[in-house]
Symmetry: C2
Amino acid sequence: MKVLIIGGGGVVGQKLGAALGAQGHLRGQEISEITLADIVDPKPVAAGCPVTTHTVDIADRTSVDALITADHDVIYLLAAIVSGHAEQDFDTGMNINLFGTHNVLERVRALGHKPVVVFSSSIAVYGGEVPDPIIDHTFLNPQTSYGMQKAMGELLINDYSRKGFLDGRAFRLPTISVRPGAANRAASSFMSSIIREPLNGKEAICPVDENFPHYYLSPRKCVENLIKGAELHAEDLGMNRAMMMPGRMWTIGQMIDAMNSVAGPAPAKLIKWEADETVQRIVNGWRFDLRPEKSLKLGLSADDSFADNVRYYMDDDLGKS
Amino acid sequence: MKVLIIGGGGVVGQKLGAALGAQGHLRGQEISEITLADIVDPKPVAAGCPVTTHTVDIADRTSVDALITADHDVIYLLAAIVSGHAEQDFDTGMNINLFGTHNVLERVRALGHKPVVVFSSSIAVYGGEVPDPIIDHTFLNPQTSYGMQKAMGELLINDYSRKGFLDGRAFRLPTISVRPGAANRAASSFMSSIIREPLNGKEAICPVDENFPHYYLSPRKCVENLIKGAELHAEDLGMNRAMMMPGRMWTIGQMIDAMNSVAGPAPAKLIKWEADETVQRIVNGWRFDLRPEKSLKLGLSADDSFADNVRYYMDDDLGKS
């Protein structure tokens, strides 16, 4: 059982690689190799099996062909241009998020070995005038180019699976928080930095007010769900391989209260409140009242409380980057 | 006001060109030129303005660039590889229906003149386990590659419109019946031929039984709706430019009864009943209980009865091909 993680240099990719390395098995088989691939050579992770790293530009079919081989039994496709970046640079977003995804699926189709492909979609596929709550059968009406590209990726995953080219599953990730490391170009970047930076004794800027509601999942739970997502049996997925990954709705105020309860009142004093209309225009279009019935039924799960998210960050990441 | 119809050699494209030629105006302006483009040079239509014809392969960006110019104020994108063909030949379906659509939209974006673009989607975007009835906010879960490609085209139309690259609208066409001309590779081809061939004194094969329900629109009404679709104001379309085009549900038995009422009992005797599992596997996945609330509110409409569809065929097409 060889596992390939495309986007293996990112926060989720690194944690997924480490979790698989520690676990040592997947889909009932021992993992014999973990390959991490990304646009820049990823950091290797600790594992009981060999770990290899590769650079890949998924927008380039030749690069994809050099990466993926017929012995990759499970392929995670996590690589993406994030929301704020894809909104500013339409062509790069299309080249990576749409055509890059297509390149990966076409390479897999050409090899003919029908691996499990786990695709990270996003709750950014939701938006527009659809009524709340968001349920499994809600129309996808993304209001960002990133969301559009993820919705298109889901359609490809579904059709390539239906045609028997691969065994795909797509999960719409909630916003991941608390995300370790540096801020990125995702419009949601502040949803981690307002917790992460203060816990590191640094100032953070919050561009929305404390009543802003959003839908979150910790990196630790996300990785658990991605592993569970690969384990699911194709016959249990029905006619739609794309679904929400469970998360929970919290307001900024609730998140700060959770940080206070875990780490005391000092960190929250480092949050500066500076409204940012560009960020607000993007994130106010995102949906937060989500009911992930199908994925919950399939055994995926959310965090119990945002205090857990804070604790996971402190246990897993604080002081390590 | 110059109008370009890509797919102008097809049944709907020809009728749309003729209707625009007879009408002479669109969006409050006089039509100064109608251009019909297709993979083979289309037949010109009668019009009070100049009519030009072009060949174009939308899968080839150079060909698309040679066709579309900055004075095309309204562009209809009707060209497609039909359902049965796209299912048999995955690559050709992708090249025309997805990448061809992308080529057209990219050419328009590069020109920067923001024309109205009317895209013909299909009710084949519906399927899977979503509950009936199909409403405006129902998840698209196509069970054919054609439906997947049309759903992807809708997402592109929405995002290119949101970004201000063009003023798009997409309509999910019901199955068009009674369609004149020859049978094609659409899995729905029999849904016209069982009426058309008998009215021409020829035998026809029905691969499903008389209780098979489906959702239909006459070519005449479809053209009316496509013209209305171009006339709609962008501000009335809201955050989703893609919607059902109204149609009506009829069973095969109801359609034959309608033919009997209009043309007497003789034609129906020419229908041979021969179950075809390949066709049934595709069409049984299609949905028929559709509630096109948004497009009805915007002024689009369906046929009053299937007898109308039969009469329209006899008035508009019988004996003319």
